[in-house]
């Protein structure tokens, strides 16, 4: 009996390891294939794409699809719009989330539980519940036709409040109490103690916010009707509708949308992973 047990224990990890490596390679390959395929199609010539035979890589890689997209569409304007909207939105979001997170972590005030619950509710609310009324509001406020039609309605996003509260709760209470006893105001405590200790939090919140804003689709689809204001996802959909079955151009432009965030995401994955793992977990 024990002999069998020992043999199994000795053999299992080795077989197990090989199987696990094969599995990991398979899962990674299935995950990465669509990304690879976007590249392959983006760099294929039109004739090759319409050939109807299965080729797993372009036989004569070409930049023609990229050149065509830049020629026919205001790509640089759209990139600029996406950058401007993502950065502005994120600066506002991180600022207001951090302030609110501090209040929910360390200040007592009547109705704080109710406000917290309301904030929680907004994070689960589908845009489609409010889109008609929000569109009218944004038009009524005269924001329609500017970046602000996208920035302001999304900048209050509450997910960061929970991350901020969680993080700030981890700052030792003694530190804050001591400063208060020295007569520091709440604003001063926030500025001098909470903010300097919150740099990792700021990085997480900022990255998550930029990612969300850069990839946001449903609301910009409604709020941006003019070509000159399009962000990359909206431009991508528009371009696809103009290109029809020309996947080469569409994928070339899709890569312009996808690559910056994938690079940032992988470079900063430690922070992202932290943020995703904690977001909403409180």
């Amino acid at each position: 009996m024990s002999g069998v047990g020992i043999r199994r224990r000795g053999a299992a990890p080795r077989i197990g390891l090989a199987v696990r490596v094969v599995l990991a390679v398979l899962v990674s390959a299935v995950t990465l294939f669509p990304i690879y395929w976007m590249f392959a199609v983006a760099f294929s010539s039109r004739s090759e794409l319409l050939g109807g035979t299965l080729r797993l890589w372009p036989t004569a890689p070409t930049w023609a699809n990229f050149a065509g997209v830049f020629e026919r569409f205001p790509v640089t304007t759209w990139v600029g719009n996406s950058v401007a909207i993502a950065l502005t939105t994120s600066v506002i979001t991180v600022t207001v989330n951090l302030l609110a997170g501090y209040a929910f972590a360390h200040l007592r005030f009547r109705g704080s539980t109710l406000l917290f619950l309301l904030a929680l509710m907004t994070t689960t609310l589908p845009l489609q519940v409010i889109m008609v009324a929000l569109f009218r509001l944004v038009t009524g406020l005269g924001l329609y036709g500017s970046y602000w039609a996208v920035i302001l309605p999304t900048a209050g996003s509450a997910i960061g409040i929970f991350l901020a509260r969680q993080f700030i709760l981890g700052i030792p209470r003694d530190l804050i109490e001591a400063a208060r006893l020295d007569g520091a105001s709440n604003l001063r405590v926030f500025w001098r103690i909470v903010l300097p200790l919150s740099r990792p939090l700021l990085a997480v919140l900022f990255f998550l916010s930029v990612l969300n804003s850069w990839n946001d689709f449903a609301w910009p689809l409604i709020a941006l009707k003019e070509n000159r204001l399009f962000t990359l996802p909206i431009g991508l959909l528009y371009l696809q509708s103009q290109n029809g079955p020309d996947y080469g151009g569409t994928m070339a432009f899709a890569l312009i949308n996808v690559i910056p965030m994938v690079v940032v995401f992988l470079a900063a994955q430690r922070w992202f992973v932290q943020g995703f793992a904690r977001s909403g977990l409180r």
Binding site: A24, L99, F109, L115, L117, I130
Partner: protein
């Protein structure tokens, strides 16, 4: 006391103006007949009565539930399996992890277009491969069931990384000591998984369940871009149906009524999440 209000004010001013005011507006608009140009006409509960008699509404509601019921367990199950794989002894773990989280950074529109590219029934690589293997090709765009399946596949591809990351964080929270103790007691891998890992991942699974249900319930980007709800409404869901009513047919009162139905579902999810979180506070 007042300081608290001051600190939450900027965030809640934005939420108040751009979420809660439109939320009240949505309820009012749902009681009107309006195309959005000029004023609406008060219609009482007409829009809601129409919902009950509208087969497309029920079709979309059914599809929404079905998507949620399929995508949630698939994303969580695969996420857990991959997390277990990456939590074990494995060379180049960080590299595999990086590969698997890449889809998280890809926009929904790009994901959906890549899905169309791959699942295209005329020129897609998947069908060329199927035919190459001598298998029959699948009408991913013209067959309702196939179309539904392709949306599920693309969405799961997009979501597994997130589930994996959260499960991985949960697994790393389980002490090595506990696993080793179980190992010394002679527990098999299956027993350790069943009696230690899975129960201790309970809070993580609960969190993911809520997040995935909400996500699948309001899945817009993939459906809108990949199928537009077609063919013949086979993939139409509540959020795309509401969009079509509000901004294509411009039956905005009706769109708002669909929105209110979505709101009621959301409130249920929030309540469950709230109870779960409170439970966590008590046990912590």
């Amino acid at each position: 006391m007042l300081a608290g209000y001051g600190f939450v004010a900027p965030n809640f001013a934005l939420l108040g103006l751009f979420v809660f005011v439109p939320l009240a507006g949505a309820v009012v608009i749902s009681l009107q007949r309006t195309n959005g140009f000029g004023g609406g006409v008060f219609a009482g509960l007409d829009n809601y009565a129409r919902l009950f008699a509208d087969p497309l509404f029920w079709r979309s509601a059914g599809n929404t539930v079905l998507f949620t019921a399929i995508i949630t367990p698939l994303s969580m199950g695969l996420g857990l399996l991959v997390a277990l794989l990456l939590d074990s002894v494995l060379p180049a773990r960080a590299l595999f992890r990086s590969a698997i989280i890449v889809p998280m950074a890809v926009s929904g529109v790009a994901t959906a277009l890549a899905g169309r590219l791959i699942f295209d029934e005329n020129s897609g690589v998947l069908d060329l491969a199927l035919r190459g293997l001598g298998l029959p090709s699948v009408s991913w765009q013209s067959n309702g069931v196939a179309s539904f399946a392709s949306v599920v596949a693309v969405t799961v591809w997009w979501r597994v990384g997130f589930n994996m990351i959260v499960y991985l964080a949960g697994l790393q929270g389980i002490g090595v000591a506990l696993k080793e103790a179980a190992l010394l007691d002679g527990a098999t891998a299956g027993q350790r998984l069943r009696f230690i890992t899975v129960p201790l991942l309970g809070p993580t699974s609960f969190f993911l369940l809520i997040v995935n249900v909400i996500f699948s319930f309001s899945l817009f980007d993939i459906v809108f871009v990949m199928t537009g709800g077609g063919p013949a409404d086979a993939t139409s869901v509540l959020v795309t149906y509401a969009y079509d009513q509000g901004f294509v047919s411009r039956d905005q009162g009706y769109a708002a009524a669909i929105g209110v139905v979505l709101l009621l579902a959301t409130l249920v999810f929030t309540a469950v999440q709230w109870r779960g979180n409170r439970g966590r506070d008590v046990t912590e």
